[in-house]
Assembly symmetry: C2
Homo-oligomer: 145 residues x 2
């Protein structure tokens, strides 16, 4: 038993079914870890958190599960500056803000029309299927959030 809500459990097995993969306890637990704390954890952090709920899970399985979740579209990878890959279950279009002081990554909502405008800077021969937008800098003091 993990902490997935019925809704999320359904989304998970639907997405897995749809891509011809199985719903397993390991995948459910890793997914619940991502949903429970949306701080863009690294694979290592996911491993630690998952292990506390399922002590027998291995690092390789965590990597496998994350890759599976990415492949079926439930989770996105966030790569910033050669740091370890982070994982993000936020499927809405959004940008990221990377704080130079803490290394933390925050989601920044992006209005849909901005996405459209962005698409227009691309010359015609480029057909983009994904856009990645990362800001880097500092948080105004007092707002550690």
């Amino acid at each position: 038993m993990n902490s997935l809500k019925q809704m999320d459990r359904g989304a998970l097995s639907d997405a897995l079914d749809h891509s011809g993969q199985r719903t397993t306890p390991q995948r459910e637990t890793v997914f619940s870890v991502l949903l429970d704390e949306r701080d863009h954890p690294t694979a290592d952090e996911v491993y630690t958190r998952t292990k506390s709920r399922m002590p027998t899970i291995s690092m390789a399985t965590v990597y496998n599960c994350l890759e599976t979740l990415v492949s079926c579209g439930l989770v996105k990878q966030v790569n910033i500056e050669r740091e370890p890959t982070r994982y993000c279950p936020n499927l809405a279009p959004h940008a990221h803000f990377h704080c130079r002081d803490t290394g933390r990554v925050y989601d920044v909502p992006v209005p849909p029309d901005m996405m459209h405008e962005l698409a227009e800077v691309l010359p015609g021969e480029y057909r983009a299927d994904s856009v990645e937008l990362v800001f880097r800098g500092h948080l105004a003091k007092g707002k550690t959030k």
Copy 2:
């Protein structure tokens, strides 16, 4: 003797001086390699190209030189999807397009007003000093460019 033009040679020694670092043959040669072929090479590719002009240079020195050029602001690192870091001497604000077929990276000019608009999607507590914009997809066929 490397293939740096006077203008670029000047920019290099100015930037190095300004950040308290020396102009060395290795740094000049690495910089000229970057300027001569602007295809966003990896450190390894820079190493190969530099070695053909200066056979005694080592990989570590190439990494050191690239780091130096980045630190004095003449070169930008381009990180895409955990692939090896690429190096780009294009200082104008621009985005990148990453072709899924060939792995190649292209510069995409971004109009200044677009940069301003982007800055505005950031909530007030975020102070960004850099913006990174990467498109991924395919090139329209026939335009291998």
